[in-house]
Symmetry: D2
Subunit: 344 residues, 4 copies
């Protein structure tokens, strides 16, 4: 059994990791840490886990020490020292935060207002969107686990961009996220009576996931891609739906586009291309590692519309992190990720 | 006191009309009809209204006969005969359905698969988006009350299109609607456990409000405007948020755009332009006749993003119908529409 | 026009008061205060009110000075000095907090761990559950506005207790409250993802409304009544449903019990006795000042079950406060309270 | 691998069974049936299951023929013929409906208005609340799977009644159920806009689970127990919370009561006794087979209050059915039931 540790285990992504890893047949959770709840049991903070885990929350050094694979789910700017310690003891480090996602430090500096203090770690790090970068992930030791929005968007656009089917300056992405995406921290906007029965955009064309999205889309397209990205806060617990609009280049018919997706995803267990006439819905992927993609066309304007749905806490965070661990360590890729979506 | 009648009073728009008209100081409800519940009291079907209205549901002829102003909220294809009877007795007819919204019968034929049997009625009818067509509404006797999506969208784009600020082939509209928009009829998709905690697009680039939206946008712009319109079903009771994307023509700066909105809406009680940095949210307009509009810019792509929020049952249906009655009959325009949004 | 002031205007009850008073024809809001937001506009904190109120939040002394009637919605222990200042200038004081609800200081001491510093104010104060204590409220100058749970419960039990129909040691009350009842303050339990799709009891048999409930029930019954009261937090914004269980004394049949309610409430506009076979539901009273009561019987055990539904923010707080003002100042009792429930 | 069949696979309980059985290591789903959707794929009706199951819905005879264990989730009155066919081929039959729950036909006749046509099958059938009747379930071939409310209630009261700690005529049960409990069939009351933001009791003291509850409670207590049972419809998808009130007999202190629960449940994996001061919440058991129980006391009235939370679709239906299969067939009791609750 591989020993896994979770740093930041009382945040939502950390708690979801714990919940999912407890069902992983090749892994045992060796240690969990939390700054706010150190000394308490994880199951006191998360009573849903009572009876399934008996660990007491400790500090991050203790987690690194006890673990073969370390997952960290922390605010940005805190992951480099952990990555370094993991590297020293040759533990696999999987960062669910933003610190190892951007290859270009300039992007990190612009959007996060911080610098890379350990550039050599970033050179080793792999941005690990499993279905797109699988080969690079195999054997990687520092993994930047993708953000939730970027995952839904890159999987939604991958076949089109790879085939050069899009006018790349036409891409507009309207994403809707459940409230767990905002984390466990208390804010007026996520206070139940002010979040329930509400919807609004936020950080319009200014969300920090923008450079990460563009990095991946540009890499796939082989050219610089600039997008408009607008996230919305949705009164549901889990799920991201990204509705993606783009203009097709001449010659890319409905049939041809569908064929691109079928070719790209026919062997991907976790990406489900919906039949013609169906619409991606977050309920169909809830609590699972699936990404559902539906294709739509506006013949009057020549646009394709892609709807892409994931569970932000699973494929958008903890699930993909486990999938990355599986790939990096050579386990079966879907190991421990067999949970089926609960549609209701 | 003007005598008002409601045909289709047990549908959601009809019931909302009854609720609001009961608070209108110049109107009394004279008759209400329903095919499904004829012979029952309206307050038996809607116990929220118990104690406030004691009328028994009758048939549509009885409503026309008893009323000076007739509101109809019916499936499409049923309004012409009512309009005709109202015309014969010179009652004001306000249609909350789709039959008197499209000026071009070809559009109606294409999207609704029906024909105009009484073309002369359509020549007299006015498409009555109050803030845009106020002058034409004054004294009108047949009023096509706008659809919910078109209201949110036209008010969101009006100042930009009127000023010629947009590349009109760039407009993409991503709308999110509460479930009352789907009506009172039972469907699997609006069954609580399948609608709660879910979101998906529907009728992508194929919704029947499309020609109505384009009719108004084209009229404002003075040129044919073709849009991409994608509605989504949102797990809330009330509200529509339309997030509208478009490319600005050269020279239309952030400041200039804001000035256009300020000029257009400074005297409009029911349109509220939000300050810079704020985001339109359906909760801030809930149960009111307001339309909140917020402006956002993506300097990296030259796009403007407009967020427009209304209560689909009020400004998007019953409230605007009353506003239209007020304009048509010469009452104060906000008469009976003073209800303030309940943010929680 | 009477000048009204609101102390604690940015809490939920205060904001609801502002929203409702803006529609009251005999009142203008003269001043509003907030400790947390002093110096900001109320409509900046509550953008739903933009366009309807332009006041800047000030301090409590300024509110008292500017007002003929002062509403305070504050944590317990803070109302006495305000009441004193109001008394000095002979302004009507309506306290939405807990400080003027309990006649017996011993109860206050036991449940709130504080003392009455101004006992003579408490002697003048009236516990103002409108339908039960209407005569005492007329002309009162210090009004203790009832709590939300106590209002739903006392109105639910009043006819039975007044008639001596119950075995008074048998009363069990299971109440369910929307999240606005917990206020605007942020807590983990009211963070959207932890409150949505959840329900649990809280403060079981230990809620501070217990002595207030017992004070009223005992007063009605003419004997000491001890109850079991268990509140639950419900994932809705507004509304309280109290399901009340009690054993009937011999001879009190279904018909007789119904007759008691009809007699007690036949002239009460805001209490609606539902027909046999219907069930009180919070949706039917939402955003209104109504209390809906339904009666049920368990012949196998001899128990009566009363379901009582109110909007906790209206009849349970701001609406009843306005009703009390109307009674105390001699306005029509339902003045400004005509809003009808929005069932959806 | 055992071959399992599901009759009524497109109802909510049937679909949940399919979802859970797909993760059971000892079972493969051999056949599924549906009257309404015969000929379609189950994954077309439930797209959440796409990629995980490829079976076409057939008829019930085909299911019986193909299966070693047959689960049926049908309206009452339809299970006897299936049970008979299963008996003939010696397949294990697990009925999630009501037909094999009541031992006394008189109860069935009174509450369901039907008769037992195959009394000898009922003699063989076992009412299978796992934690209470485990020994009888071992080797049983006809299993009446308990109802959702009865499961939450019997587990909540078992230790108290077994110890004779309660005045048995004092038991009052106030239950709150998520909307999946009302099934997949469309009704006005479960239409999203009329169910969301609402709560009301229903079938007050008249719900068909009453005789089932009393059968179990009486059996445990060793005397006839008559209860008052009031269910409520709660605007959440999943979960039942039962708040149970009863008077303690002299001598049963808080400590003694807790000791009874600890003794009863210390070896039960799926029943979690919460620590003092914690409250059972449906969110902590969501999507799992757990039953969480919290204990509370009202010293002023001598009552104990038990809060018991389950997922109505899992421990209250499909999960307990699988647990029963495991017991009956000699698998590990928690086999295939390892899913941990997702608290958010």
């Amino acid at each position: 059994m591989i020993k896994a540790g979770i740093i930041g285990a009382t945040g939502y992504a950390g708690a979801e990791l714990a919940r999912l890893l407890l069902g992983h047949p090749e892994v045992e959770i060796a240690a969990v840490s939390s700054v706010s709840y150190e000394g308490q049991k994880l199951s006191d903070v998360y009573p849903n886990l009572a009876g399934a885990i008996d660990l007491t929350l400790t500090d991050m050094d203790a987690v690194v020490e006890a673990s073969d694979v370390v997952f960290a789910s922390l605010p940005h700017g805190l992951s480099e020292p952990i990555a370094k310690k993991c590297a020293e003891k040759d533990a696999l480090f999987i960062d669910l935060g933003a610190d190892f996602r951007l290859y270009d430090e300039a992007d990190y500096r612009e959007w996060y207002k911080l610098e890379y203090k350990e550039p050599e770690l970033h050179e080793k790090a792999v941005y690990a969107l499993c279905e797109i970068y699988r080969e690079k992930i195999k054997g990687a030791r520092i993994i930047g686990n993708p953000g939730c929005y970027p995952t839904s968007i890159a999987l939604g656009l991958y076949p089109l961009l790879k085939a050069g089917a899009l006018k790349t300056d036409s891409i507009i992405i309207d994403s809707k996220s459940g409230v767990t995406g905002a984390g466990r921290g208390l804010t007026q906007g996520t206070h139940y009576p002010e979040c329930n029965e509400a919807i609004s955009p936020y950080k319009v064309a200014a969300h920090r996931h923008t450079p990460e999205i563009e990095q991946t889309l540009s890499d796939i397209a082989g050219e610089k891609v600039t997008i408009t990205f607008v996230p919305h806060l949705l009164p549901v617990n889990r799920g991201i739906l990204s509705t993606i609009y783009a203009s097709l280049k001449e010659g890319f018919t409905k049939e041809k586009v569908r064929a691109l997706y079928e070719a790209a995803y026919k062997d991907e267990k976790f990406v489900r291309l919906l039949p013609d006439g169906k619409f991606a819905d977050i309920k169909n992927v809830r609590c699972s590692n699936y990404c559902d993609v539906s294709l739509h066309f506006d013949p009057r304007t020549g646009r394709v519309i892609v709807a892409s749905a994931i569970d932000n806490m699973v494929k958008g965070a903890a699930g993909q992190a486990i999938q990355n661990m599986n790939i990096a360590l050579g386990f079966k890729e879907d190991c421990g990720l067999g949970m089926l979506p609960n549609i209701f």
